[in-house]
C-alpha cells in the first residue's frame, strides 16, 4: 500500500500551482536568500519547484520519497524515517543538525534553515498528515491539468506504463523512479532523460543504504577481532619477553599483566631486541588491512 505521486512531464504547463499549494499548505515564507540556495528552486521555504527545461518542458522537482531512503539510513538519530505508506518524514525533536542527510541524498533534496539560529531540515513530506485523513497531497490536488497525480504506487506504475504504451513516440520507454536507487515513490514519465534531477547529473542505480550496510555489518566482527588480535599479540610479546628474561637470568621481577611499573624506569632488558622495532609494529597495523 505504498502511496506515490506520478508526474507526466508532457502534461505539465509550468504554472507552479503545485508550488503555490505547497507554500499555502505549510505557510512557507519568501524565497530563501540566494547565497544558500542553488539553482533548482528548492530551499528551506520551497519543498517543490518547477524546473524549466529546453524544449518547453517543465519538470517538477520534489523529494522522491525513496523506498530505501539514503537520508534515513544516514541520520545518526533516526530523525528522518520512512512511513509504511510511503512518505519519508522528519522529526525536528530528534535532529542534531549534522546535515549528513543532505550529504547522503542522491537527489540533493533536504534543505537547511541556514538563516535560523535553531535550524532544521526542510523537505517535502508528501503531506503525510493529509494522507492520514484520507486526502491527497496539496500539490497533486492543485494541479489544473492533472500532470501530477496521486495514488497507489502499483496503480501509478501501471498507469505510467499504459501511457507509454499508448503513446510510444512521446515518451522515453522508462518510468523514472521505478528502479533508480532502489525505487522511489515519486515517479515520472518524460520525453527526455531526467538524470539532471540527480545531484551530479548521473543516474544512480545503487541502493544507497546498502553501500554503507556492508561496512556497518563488519563493525562487530572487526571490533571483536581487533580485541582478540591485540590480546593475542600482547600474550605473544609477553611470553617472548619472559622467555628471554629467563634465558638471561633471574633478574626479571615483573609480574605478568602489570607491564608498566608506575612510570618507573624499566630494566634495560628491553634493549635485547635488535631491529625489533619495525618488525614488530608492522604486523599489528597490517592485520585489519588484509
Amino acid at each position: 500500500m505504498t502511496k506515490a505521486i506520478l508526474t507526466d512531464v508532457t502534461r505539465c504547463i509550468g504554472c507552479e500551482s503545485c508550488v503555490k499549494a505547497c507554500v499555502e499548505e505549510y505557510h512557507l515564507g519568501e524565497y530563501e536568500k540566494f547565497r544558500w540556495v542553488r539553482g533548482d528552486g528548492l530551499s528551506a521555504s520551497r519543498f517543490c519547484s518547477v524546473l524549466r527545461r529546453p524544449g518547453r518542458l517543465y519538470v517538477r522537482k520534489q523529494c522522491r520519497h525513496c523506498i530505501e531512503p539514503a537520508c534515513a539510513s544516514a541520520c545518526p538519530v533516526g530523525a528522518l524515517h520512512r512511513l509504511p505508506n510511503g512518505p519519508v518524514v522528519y522529526d525536528k525533536e530528534k535532529c542534531l543538525g549534522c546535515r549528513y542527510c543532505m550529504m547522503a541524498c542522491p537527489y540533493g533534496i533536504p534543505r537547511y534553515e541556514w538563516e535560523s539560529p535553531v535550524p532544521g531540515i526542510r523537505k517535502c513530506i508528501m503531506c503525510y498528515k493529509r494522507l492520514e485523513q484520507g486526502r491527497q497531497p496539496a500539490c497533486t490536488e492543485a494541479c489544473p491539468v492533472k500532470a501530477t497525480i496521486f495514488g497507489d504506487r502499483n496503480d501509478l506504475l501501471n498507469e505510467a506504463k499504459a501511457r507509454i504504451k499508448a503513446n510510444p513516440g512521446k515518451y522515453k520507454h522508462k518510468v523514472f523512479g521505478e528502479k533508480e536507487v532502489g525505487g522511489t515513490s515519486v515517479l515520472y514519465i518524460s520525453p527526455v532523460d531526467l538524470n539532471f534531477l540527480f545531484l551530479g547529473g548521473e543516474s544512480r542505480t545503487e541502493v544507497f543504504p546498502k553501500l554503507t550496510e556492508a561496512a556497518m555489518h563488519a563493525v562487530p566482527p572487526v571490533f571483536l577481532a581487533m580485541g582478540a588480535l591485540m590480546g593475542g599479540l600482547w600474550w605473544v610479546c609477553e611470553r617472548r619477553e619472559k622467555n628471554m628474561a629467563k634465558k638471561r637470568g633471574p633478574d626479571d621481577h615483573r609480574p605478568p599483566g602489570n607491564g608498566q611499573g608506575g612510570g618507573a624506569v624499566d630494566t634495560e632488558g628491553d634493549q635485547a631486541q635488535p631491529g625489533g622495532t619495525a618488525n614488530q609494529e608492522t604486523p599489528g597495523e597490517e592485520g585489519p588491512g588484509k
Binding site: I13, G14, S17, F34, R35, W36, V37, R38, L42, P54, R56, A74, P76, V77, K94, C95, L96, G97, C98, R99, Y100, M102, M103, G108, Y112, E113, W114, E115, S116, P117, P119, V145, L199, G200, L211, T212, A215, M216, V222, F223, M226, G227, M230, W234, C237, E241, G259, Q260, D266, D270, Q271, T277, A278, E281, T282, G284, E285, E286, P288, G289
Partner: protein, 631 residues
C-alpha cells in the same frame, strides 16, 4: 620562557578571536557565519575539525599499542604526552562539532535515539566511548599528583586496568577511524571515482596508524622546542621508520585499489580532482615515507620534524578532500571557507594547545617536569591572567584593570557586534539581475515570455482592444506614462524579470533637467537634505502618468514606489481581470486557471501558424545578442 609566553600569547589571541566569532555563530546561525550552502552542507568544520581532528588524535592508540601491547618500553617516555594529545584532540573534535551542529544541545540524542545503520551513529558512539577511555588512561597521571588515600586507591585501581583499557581503546579507534571513511560510502554521487572506493574504511584506518605516529613526532618536537627539553631524536627516528612502513603499505593498498578497479588512468586526467589526488598522495604518503628512510633526515631533529609536518598536513588535506573538497567539481558548487570558519577552527586548535600546555606544566607528562618551579614565577606579567595591566602613559599611568577581564569584555563586545549586524553584512553573493524583455507585438497577438525560457504566452491584443471598447480602451490597461504615449513598454519601469526594481530613474531625470541645475525642480526646499522623502511627487509633474479609468493604480505617496518584477506585473495584470470575469460569468469558468494561458503555444503544433513561434524566437535571439542575455 619567552618562547613559551610568545607562543601562548598567539594562542590566546586566536582563542579570543575565535570565541567572539563562535558566540556570533550561535546568535546568528550557520548561514551568517559560514559559506556553506544547500549543495555543500559540510565544509571546513567537518573536513578539518572533525575528520582531520580525529585522524590527528590517532597518535594515542598507536603509541599505546606500541608500548603496552608490543612491549616496546623504550617508547614509554613519549606515551603519556601522546595519550594526552589524543584526549585533548578528541575533546577538540567534540568542541568543533558543537559549532558545526545546527542543534548542538541535542548531541546527547545519539545516546537515546539509535540508528545503528548510520556510520555517523557509530562514529559518535565510538568517539564518546574512546574519549572516556582516554580520560581513564590519562587519569592515573592526574591522580598520582594527589596525596589523598582514596584518590590513591582509585589510582591503583585504574593502573591495574591499563592494559584492558589500552586494548579497548585500540578496538574503538579501529572502528571509528575506519568509520570516518564509511561516512563517504553513501556519497557515490558526490565523491569522484578517484576517491570513491568501497575500501575507504580500510584506507582510513591504515592511514590513521601512519598519521598517528607522525603526529606524535610533531608533538614531541614542538614541545621539546617550546620547553627546551632534550629532543628524543633516536626514538623519533624509530617512529619515523615505523611510519614509513605503514605509509608504504597505505600507498600500495591505495594505488593497488585504483589499479584493480581500472581507475589508474584517471590520475592523469589533469582535472582539479586528479591534481588534488596527486598532490595529497605525494604530501601525505610518498614524500614523508621517502624522507623517513633517508639517513640524513632520520638523523636530524629538524629533518624528522619537517617530514612529519609534511605528512600531517598531507593527511589533513586528504581528510578534507574526502569530506568535501574533492566533491566540488562534480556537483557544480563552489565553496571556500569564510574567515569566520577559519577563526573558529584555529581557535579550537589553539585552545587544545593551551590546555595541553596547562596540563603538561603541572603534571608529570614527561620524565622531567616541563617547567622548573622558578620558571613559573618568571612568567611575563602581561600574560599572567591575574596580573594587572598598565597603559604606558608617561603622565599618569592609568590603571586599566585586569587583562583577563579586558579580554573577556573584548570577546563579548566583538561577538555582539557580529551578531547584531544584519545578515546582509555577511553576504557574499547577490542574485544576478536579469533585465526584463518587453513583449513582442504583432498585428494581432502579443507574445509575452514572462520567465524568459523561450516559451510564450500569447496575448490576443486585437481581441482585447475590441472587447474593451476600441481606441478609448487603451487606458484601461496602460499607464500612458509619457505624453502622447499609448503603450510605453512595461519593461521601462518593471526593469527586472524576477526582482523588484525602483520605478524612479534618477539619472534620467537629472540629465533631463539639466544636471545639477535641476535638483531644485524636485527637491524644492533648498534647506533640506536632498532625499526621496523631501522630493515632490511624480504626479506634480506627470499629470498624465496614469490614464483615466485605468486598472493600474499608482500610489501617490512619494517616489519610494517599488516596481514589481516584470513577471509579477504581467501576471497580475491578466489574472485579476480574468478572475473577476470568471467569478461574474459562469460560462467563463476556468478563465482564471493557469492552464488557460500557459498552454503549449499553439504555434508549435498548430498547422495554421507553422512559423509563428520560430519567427518570434529568431527576433528574440537577435535582441538577446544585442543585450547579451541568454535565451
Amino acid at each position: 620562557m619567552t618562547r613559551i609566553n610568545k607562543f601562548k600569547a598567539v594562542m590566546w589571541f586566536l582563542v579570543g578571536f575565535g570565541a567572539a566569532v563562535g558566540i556570533a555563530r550561535f546568535l546568528s546561525g550557520l548561514g551568517a557565519t559560514t559559506n556553506l550552502t544547500d549543495l555543500t552542507p559540510w565544509g571546513f568544520w567537518i573536513g578539518f575539525d572533525v575528520m582531520g581532528g580525529v585522524a590527528l588524535a590517532a597518535g594515542g592508540f598507536v603509541v599505546a599499542a606500541v608500548v603496552y601491547v608490543f612491549h616496546l618500553k623504550e617508547f614509554k617516555p613519549i606515551s603519556r604526552a601522546a595519550v594526552l594529545t589524543a584526549f585533548l584532540g578528541y575533546v577538540a573534535v567534540v568542541g568543533g562539532l558543537l559549532f558545526d551542529l545546527g542543534l548542538p544541545w541535542n548531541i546527547w540524542h545519539m545516546i537515546v535515539y539509535w540508528n545503528p545503520g548510520s556510520p555517523l551513529f557509530e562514529v559518535g558512539w565510538c568517539v564518546m566511548l574512546y574519549t572516556t577511555v582516554l580520560a581513564l588512561e590519562f587519569a592515573p597521571v592526574v591522580l598520582e599528583m594527589a596525596n589523598h588515600p582514596i584518590l590513591g586507591r582509585i589510582h591503583g585501581f585504574l593502573k591495574r586496568f591499563t592494559l584492558p583499557l589500552v586494548i579497548l581503546g585500540i578496538m574503538l579507534s579501529t572502528l571509528h577511524q575506519s568509520s570516518l571513511g564509511s561516512l563517504a560510502l553513501i556519497m557515490p554521487h558526490r565523491l569522484p571515482p578517484l576517491y570513491y572506493t568501497p575500501i575507504l574504511p580500510v584506507l582510513f584506518f591504515i592511514s590513521a596508524v601512519g598519521l598517528g605516529l607522525m603526529v606524535v613526532m610533531v608533538e614531541a618536537s614542538v614541545t621539546s622546542y617550546l620547553y627546551q627539553r632534550e629532543q628524543e631524536t633516536d626514538l623519533l627516528a624509530k617512529l619515523g621508520k615505523g611510519a614509513s612502513a605503514v605509509l608504504w603499505l597505505y600507498f600500495v593498498v591505495r594505488i593497488g585499489e585504483l589499479a584493480v578497479s581500472g581507475e589508474l588512468g584517471l590520475l592523469w586526467e589533469g582535472s582539479f580532482t586528479s591534481n588534488l589526488y596527486i598532490v595529497e598522495l605525494l604530501l601525505s604518503t610518498v614524500v614523508p615515507a621517502l624522507l623517513f628512510l633517508h639517513p640524513r633526515v632520520s638523523g636530524s631533529a629538524g629533518g624528522l620534524f619537517s617530514a612529519a609536518v609534511i605528512g600531517v598536513l598531507g593527511f589533513v588535506l586528504n581528510r578534507t578532500a574526502v569530506a568535501g573538497l574533492a566533491m566540488q567539481a562534480g556537483i557544480g558548487d563552489h565553496y571556500f571557507p569564510s574567515w569566520m570558519e577559519f577563526a573558529v577552527s584555529f581557535a579550537i586548535v589553539a585552545a587544545a594547545a593551551l590546555a595541553f600546555m596547562f596540563l603538561a606544566e603541572r603534571l608529570k607528562v614527561w620524565e622531567k617536569p616541563a617547567l622548573s618551579p622558578s620558571d613559573f614565577s618568571k612568567a611575563a606579567p602581561l600574560l599572567e591572567p591575574n596580573g594587572e595591566l598598565w597603559v604606558p602613559d608617561p603622565a599618569a599611568g592609568i590603571y586599566m584593570g585586569r587583562p583577563a577581564r579586558l579580554s573577556l569584555a573584548f570577546v563579548i563586545g566583538a561577538a555582539l557586534a557580529f551578531a547584531i549586524s544584519p545578515s546582509r553584512a555577511f553576504e557574499s553573493a547577490e542574485p544576478v539581475p536579469s533585465p526584463a524583455r518587453p513583449a513582442l507585438v504583432s498585428s494581432a497577438v502579443m507574445v509575452i515570455d514572462g520567465d524568459r525560457d523561450g516559451d510564450f504566452v500569447q496575448f490576443e491584443h486585437n481581441r482585447h482592444i475590441a472587447f474593451m471598447g476600441d481606441d478609448a480602451s487603451c487606458g484601461k490597461c496602460h499607464h500612458m506614462r509619457l505624453p502622447k504615449s499609448k503603450a510605453g513598454p512595461c519593461a521601462d519601469c518593471h526593469r527586472d524579470m524576477d526582482g523588484q526594481t525602483d520605478i524612479f530613474n534618477h539619472d534620467e531625470h537629472a540629465s533631463g533637467l539639466g544636471g545639477n541645475k535641476g535638483c531644485m525642480t524636485c527637491h524644492i526646499d533648498p534647506y533640506k537634505p536632498k532625499t526621496r522623502a523631501v522630493a515632490g511627487r511624480c504626479f506634480e509633474c506627470h499629470g498624465d502618468m496614469v490614464a483615466k479609468g485605468s486598472r493600474v493604480k499608482l500610489k501617490n505617496e512619494s517616489f519610494a514606489v517599488p516596481a514589481p518584477s516584470y513577471r509579477n506585473a504581467m501576471h497580475k495584470m491578466c489574472i485579476t481581470c480574468h478572475q473577476e470575469k470568471a467569478a461574474k460569468n459562469p460560462a467563463l469558468k476556468g478563465l482564471d486557471q493557469c492552464a488557460n494561458c500557459h498552454r503549449v503555444t499553439p504555434g508549435a503544433s498548430d498547422p495554421k501558424h507553422p512559423d509563428f513561434v520560430p519567427a518570434f524566437k529568431e527576433r528574440y535571439k537577435a535582441q538577446d545578442q544585442e543585450t547579451g542575455h541568454p535565451i
